[in-house]
């Protein structure tokens, strides 16, 4: 399968500073791909280079097989994007904003326009001026302009920003549907790590302008699968008991963390109980969410974990 987007050794130097250092990346049709990284890591710069707002210092970008630098119009006709907050013309109505973008892409019919408006649920307010819209409505209009010309690649910077929980869920389901049913390649960046976890198939972690890791979400979150936290008192005694089963034990504030197969947990519990230790709770140790993974990879630098 040919990648929908291909970055070959892309670097970007601004004011003699290397913002992006030799990034190579392939994203495929039908895939929801996440870009993850602390602020200033280079996520937005990467996105800006893909959508043609910035030029690469070296390296090349291919969109649907078209070289972005030498075949700009063809390459970009396959891309729909929202870069950062969707800044639309506030003195125009939502309708005129969409008409504006319709005129800039060949072959967008009025039926498609109506369809997209329906899709993002803006029917009732589409003829109102954008300055009267809420952030969520602007976000929807931003999504509408990105989808208008039925792009093969959809790039969204912080797509759920400003939406209510129902809206977030809606967008998430819709993006998944776009990828699965229409074979669109979706690239998202988000500071909502839990969102990424639910939305993406693969995730690239960017730090200091480099991609330090590209992995499937499923693999990503399973790294420390067999680590468990037990809330027990007294912890010291529990530590000694646990050591009889495994050497991978550490003391925590209100309990212990052990590393062992799930099947062995009942054995551990029965031993603890036999030793008159109170067991209050057993749960997977905390190093197993994407967020924690991410923090451990990036050293917990500057990341919003809201």
């Amino acid at each position: 399968m040919h990648p929908a987007i291909e970055l070959n050794q892309v670097s970007k130097i601004i004011n003699k500073k290397k913002i992006i250092n030799d990034i190579s990346l392939s994203v495929f049709p039908g895939e929801v791909f996440g870009l993850l990284g602390p602020n200033g890591a280079g996520k937005t710069t990467t996105i800006r280079m893909i959508v043609g707002l910035m030029k690469t210092t070296s390296g090349s970008i291919y969109i649907n097989g078209q070289n972005l630098a030498s075949n700009f119009e063809k390459a970009l006709s396959n891309v729909g994007a929202v870069v950062e907050n969707p800044e639309l013309y506030s003195f125009l109505s939502g309708w005129h904003n969409l008409k504006h973008y319709q005129r800039m892409a060949p072959g967008v019919t009025n039926e498609r326009l109506a369809e997209v408006i329906q899709l993002v649920g803006l029917n009732e307010r589409i003829h109102d001026k954008v300055k009267t819209y809420s952030l969520g409505m602007r976000q929807r209009l931003g999504l509408a302009q990105a989808l208008l010309h039925q792009p093969k690649v959809l790039i969204l910077d912080e797509p759920t920003n400003g939406l209510d929980p129902a809206g977030i869920r809606e967008i998430r389901d819709y993006l998944r549907q776009l990828a699965e049913k229409e074979n669109i390649c979706v690239i998202v960046s988000s500071h909502l790590l839990s969102e990424m976890e639910k939305m993406c198939d693969r995730i690239a972690v960017i730090q200091k302008g480099e991609i330090i890791r590209v992995e499937k979400v499923a693999d990503f979150v399973q790294h420390n699968k067999n680590e468990w936290f037990l809330e027990v008192t007294p912890a010291k005694k529990a530590l000694a008991v646990a050591r009889t089963i495994t050497s991978n034990v550490s003391a925590e504030e209100s309990g212990i963390t052990v590393k062992l197969d799930k099947q062995q947990i009942p054995l551990l519990v029965s031993k603890l109980v036999a030793a008159q230790i109170s067991v209050f709770m057993i749960r997977p140790a905390k190093q197993n969410t994407l967020e924690d993974q991410f923090l451990s990879i990036t050293g917990g630098e500057n990341v919003e974990t809201v």
Binding site: V51, F72, A75, V83, L88, Y89, H100, Q145
Partner: protein, 314 residues
């Protein structure tokens, strides 16, 4: 070509759907009405008196015999005499002060309002998209940047041209209303370099407005360039208006130097050639048109190159 038309359509929409644009047209109308009122009730009353005195040919003769006249006054009187003789010989009447065409022609100075309004539009048409952040969604379309920029320039010029048409229309209508539908004989007769020149007033007005509009184009293209390069609307408006209001004076002060003829503002006033009376000796219409074309091309080239090469980031 179809694509370019669509782009211009977009820019026109963005200009004309702004409240500020509507206000500009209202202001233009107001200016014409005020000018009409001033013309009708202040200037016209005075000229009527002058005309009455002038018709008395005897007074000219008496004055001409008087040796105490300065050379300038002398020439003025000779020209008046020439005109009188022409009127009598041809059996035509001069354009009266209350004639509509006279008002339209005299009103050509209001073109500087069009320059001002167009400078404001030209300065903001690129810079404004940067300040509002809308430039991002504009430039991620499958359209080359130079086309987008050129469409913005074209739309600005169309706006300016619309204003010009509106100004002439407003002047005509206001003229008709204030001057009792006077559309009688309409010839514009002047003495140019000692010779009589007899033009239809409409033709003269067209030449006058047309030549003034050339300087509107060049000044607004300058504002367009500054706005594009510095992404700052106020700076572009400020620089352009300061240049416009002081440029002519600076050129006048330095007019003894030969190199001054290569300065933009020595060439923007094309009307001077209609009177065969250029500010700097030896300058000609073709020379000025060449200079203006060069400046124009340089302004647009600078704007296009910076716009195409720019990395868009906050």
């Amino acid at each position: 070509m179809k694509q370019f038309k669509q782009l211009v359509h977009n820019e026109i929409m963005k200009i004309f759907r702004r409240t500020a644009t509507k206000i500009m047209f209202l202001l233009l109308l107001t200016v014409v009405i005020i000018s009409g009122l001033v013309f009708r009730f202040m200037i016209m009353d005075n000229t009527v008196d002058d005309a009455a005195a002038g018709e008395n040919g005897v007074s000219i003769n008496i004055a001409a015999e008087n040796d105490e006249l300065s050379p300038g006054e002398q020439r003025q009187l000779e020209e008046q005499l020439l005109l009188q003789q022409y009127y009598e010989a041809e059996g035509v009447e001069p354009l009266t002060a209350e004639h509509v065409w006279n008002f339209v022609i005299a009103n050509a100075d209001t073109l500087s309002f069009i320059t001002m309004f167009t400078v404001i539009i030209a300065a903001g048409i690129v810079a404004g998209e940067h300040t509002q952040g809308t430039i991002k969604l504009l430039l991620i379309r499958p359209v080359k940047r130079w086309k987008i920029l050129l469409s913005k320039w074209t739309a600005t010029m169309l706006f300016s041209f619309t204003m010009l048409i509106a100004l002439i229309a407003f002047s005509w209508i206001v003229g008709l209303l204030f001057f009792q539908f006077n559309i009688g004989p309409s010839r514009w007769i002047e003495v140019v370099q000692g010779e009589i020149r007899d033009w239809h007033a409409g033709y003269y007005a067209l030449i006058e407005y047309g030549l003034n509009f050339v300087s509107v184009i060049i000044m607004t293209t300058f504002a367009f360039m500054i706005g594009t390069v510095f992404r700052n609307t106020s700076l572009a408006i400020g620089l352009s208006l300061v240049a416009m209001f002081t440029g002519g004076q600076i050129v006048y002060l330095l007019s003894q130097y030969d190199w001054i003829k290569y300065v933009l503002f020595a060439n923007t006033n094309l009307i001077q050639y209609v009177y065969n009376n250029p500010m700097i000796e030896g300058m000609t219409m073709p020379f000025s048109i060449t200079m203006l074309s060069v400046y124009f091309a340089v302004f647009l080239a600078i704007a296009t190159i910076t716009f195409s090469k720019r990395d868009v980031a906050e």
